[in-house]
């Protein structure tokens, strides 16, 4: 053994010396820092004729179907911008990566794309965002997070579009009371997913229930839960008069299909990621159509506002066969619009570096996303860009949802602190 080691060491030294003497060129100069392209200062992801933006999403696992429609929204925006000559005279290009909710894969992909992109226009998944956060900060990477968790707030580089889950829940519970669907003293059930989405929603729901004199019965379920009948019977035993759902569409379907068998003919109020139009193809369809509402800050796919029409027209062109439209195409479109506004402002300032884009993103205090969202304010990284919500009802249309009523914000929000 020892002989072998010695010999190996000798050979290593010899080869190492040879290589060093040969003086092969190493990758001593990486592209990037401090160059300039044309008339503006640039660092990463910008050439004379293109701006490259990263898309890092889960296209295959938990959020696969949702992510595909968000990405379709990104593409609709890029097509529109490019048809109008691009931003700063440069066309928009995407570098698309599928991280499959695997932090290991995401780290590898991030390392591969970080020198080639100006920002991330679509970054999905709490574990992924948490894992990449130190690098996003270190690289000053302007990033649009997909999702509404309040945990994403507080980082200048990361923008969250619209109202966070906790505020959505406060608005949602207020709506149930205002509509007379539940009354003071009644119990309200909440099935929520372990993790920041569900737990953030639970914070808001618990707070609102307390303020409105309701008994809050929360049941945390795992993201992979395959059977929630026990949790549902516990809600039944507590005599709940409404059920909040903050999970994936699969558990929403379970709630909707089990509620009738337990005699729970009550309103079901869910968050945007908890709904998928495929629920209307499931055996739970009747209950969904009758009792389910979505509380979110984003308008549905169906509708005739300017932004909605643009997305509807664009969707058919960009989406692959078999991908059905959902509301989340709006998220992709609006998210890209916000990043695009920041890039435009940075360009006008003559500085297309990442830091400059982040700075200009934080100067946007009233972004108009063609009516997909209410006006969004990004000036404070620690507060949500909106506090308003809108109620959508399940419907047999494209995207499976229709808007009922206008944007509103519960006065209870004033006393709410995380």
């Amino acid at each position: 053994m020892r002989k072998h080691t010695l010999r190996a060491a000798a050979v290593s030294v010899a080869v190492l010396t040879a290589v060093s003497l040969a003086g092969c060129g190493t990758r001593s100069s990486d592209a990037g820092s401090g160059s300039s392209s044309g008339d503006v200062k640039t660092d990463f992801g910008v050439t004379d004729d293109t701006i490259t933006l990263g898309v890092m999403s889960d296209f295959s696992v938990v959020y696969g179907p949702l992510a595909k429609t968000v990405y379709a929204g990104d593409q609709i925006w890029a097509d529109e911008v490019n048809a109008a000559g691009g931003i700063c005279g440069r066309k928009i290009k995407f570098d698309v990566q599928d991280q499959k909710m695997d932090t290991q894969l995401a780290n590898t992909e991030y390392a591969g794309m970080k020198n080639d992109v100006l920002g991330l226009v679509h970054l999905l998944g709490s574990p992924i965002i948490s894992s990449l956060l130190p690098q996003i900060k270190a690289d000053h990477m302007p990033t649009i997070a997909v999702g509404w968790s309040a945990d994403y707030l507080g980082t200048p580089e990361i923008a969250v579009l619209g109202t966070t889950y906790d505020l959505d829940e406060i608005n949602g519970v207020q709506h149930l009371v205002d509509e007379g669907k539940i009354h003071k003293g009644a119990a309200i059930g909440h099935i929520y997913m372990a993790g920041d989405f569900g737990e953030n929603a639970a914070e808001g729901a618990k707070y609102a229930a307390g303020k409105l004199g309701l008994t809050y019965v929360g049941k945390k379920v795992d993201a992979t839960a395959t059977d929630i009948s026990a949790e549902m019977s516990a809600l039944k035993a507590a005599g709940v008069k409404a059920i909040l759902v903050s999970t994936g569409p699969k558990q929403t379907a379970m709630v909707a299909s089990q509620a009738p068998s337990l005699g729970l003919d009550v309103p079901i109020l869910v968050n945007a990621p908890s709904y998928d139009p495929s629920l209307l193809q499931s055996p739970a369809a009747a209950t969904v159509l009758k009792n389910l509402e979505v509380v979110t800050s984003m308008v549905p796919y169906a509708g005739d506002s300017e932004g909605q029409k643009k997305i509807q027209e664009g969707f058919a062109k960009v989406a692959e066969k078999g991908v059905n439209p959902t509301q989340h195409a709006g998220y992709g479109y609006a998210g890209a619009t916000v990043l695009g506004e920041a890039i435009k402002a940075a360009c006008e300032d003559g500085d297309l570096t990442r830091q400059s884009v982040v700075d200009h993103l934080r100067e946007l205090d009233s972004v108009d996303t063609d009516g997909i969202y209410p006006a969004l304010d990004f000036s404070d990284p620690a507060t949500p860009s909106s506090t308003k919500s809108v109620i959508l009802k399940a419907a047999k249309n494209e995207g499976g949802l229709k808007q009922v009523g206008d944007y509103f914000a519960s006065p209870l929000q004033d006393g709410y602190k995380r």
Partner: protein, 295 residues
């Protein structure tokens, strides 16, 4: 009390489904000493095929097609293990894991966000027993499980195949000397294993569940404690283990709110804790035979 009755009933019906899955594991294990880790995926494949057929053929024919698909899948996997002859049974078991990876990747790709349903005749209808509601599909799950388990045990005791199966499970050498065809026993075991898994899948896809999705193959993992608690090579053990796991899981989840310090997943993890405890006391499960441990 009503919560208890409700949870007990749901637990028993879930246990009946677990028992079918567990029986599908043990049957294959008895026949060939291979623990088919792809069993959950076989179930998902069967339901996937049935769900494709159901809109055209209606439930009953679709179910038959699904059962056939499951049976074909297990027999193909058996063929692969035969190709690896000379490897130990543990190595063959690891091979079924490879099969599982391939099947899951392709099924996940095809299923996407869909819920697979077989258009079963029970729909969302509910039966009320003593003031407790239970979905009709779950009542039928219990009935079908009882019938199938009954037929299975009758066949095991009273048919030539059953005698051959028991003989080669207990003593393969003597069985072969007596002229019992190992291949026929094995192929029947795998075929039955596939069919039982898909039957369980049909009930899992029915109310109160919204259908199966691409992660549903993981349900088979929940049946593993049932298999181990009962004993890997025991049919009786599979049935008893399935019921124990279903009831324990149902009751623990139902009352988990009272013990919130145990966390959200306590219902899901209890069967595994129970399994380790049982193994510490009885290293071959409740009904397992000692010989298997030597493999």
């Amino acid at each position: 009390m009503q919560l208890f009755a409700q949870q007990l009933l749901l637990g028993v019906s879930l246990g009946a489904i677990y028992a079918l899955v567990a029986l599908s594991f043990t049957t294959i294990f008895q026949g060939t000493k291979v623990f088919n880790l792809a069993q959950g995926t076989v179930m998902l494949l069967g339901i996937f095929v049935a769900a494709q057929a159901a809109p055209h053929t209606g439930f009953w024919l679709a179910a038959l097609i699904g059962l056939a698909a499951g049976a074909i899948a297990t027999v193909v996997i058996w063929g692969l293990t035969l190709a690896a002859r000379g490897s130990s049974h543990l190595t063959m078991t690891i091979m079924t894991m490879g099969v599982q990876v391939v099947l899951v990747s392709e099924l996940t790709r095809r299923i996407g966000s869909d819920f697979l349903t077989t258009k079963d005749p029970w729909g969302a209808s509910v039966w009320h027993l003593a003031g407790v509601g239970i979905p009709a599909a779950r009542v039928w799950a219990i009935i079908v499980a009882i019938v199938l388990v009954g037929v299975f045990f009758w066949a095991l005791r009273s048919t030539p195949w059953g005698a051959a199966m028991r003989a080669s499970s207990e003593d393969p050498v003597t069985a072969e000397l007596l002229g019992i065809s190992e291949r026929r026993v094995a192929s029947a075991a795998w075929l039955i294993g596939g069919v039982l898994a898909v039957v369980a899948g049909i009930f899992l896809a029915a109310a109160p569940n919204p259908g199966l999705d691409y992660t549903s193959h993981l349900v088979a993992l929940s049946a593993i404690p049932a298999v181990v608690i009962g004993g890997l090579d025991s049919s009786e053990g599979a049935v008893v283990g399935g019921l124990i796991v279903g009831v324990v899981q149902g009751l623990v989840t139902g009352y988990a709110g009272h013990y919130s310090f145990l966390g959200a997943d306590i219902g899901a993890v209890t069967p595994y804790i129970l399994m380790v405890v049982v193994l510490l006391v009885k290293p071959h499960g409740l009904f397992g035979s000692k010989e298997v441990a030597r493999v």
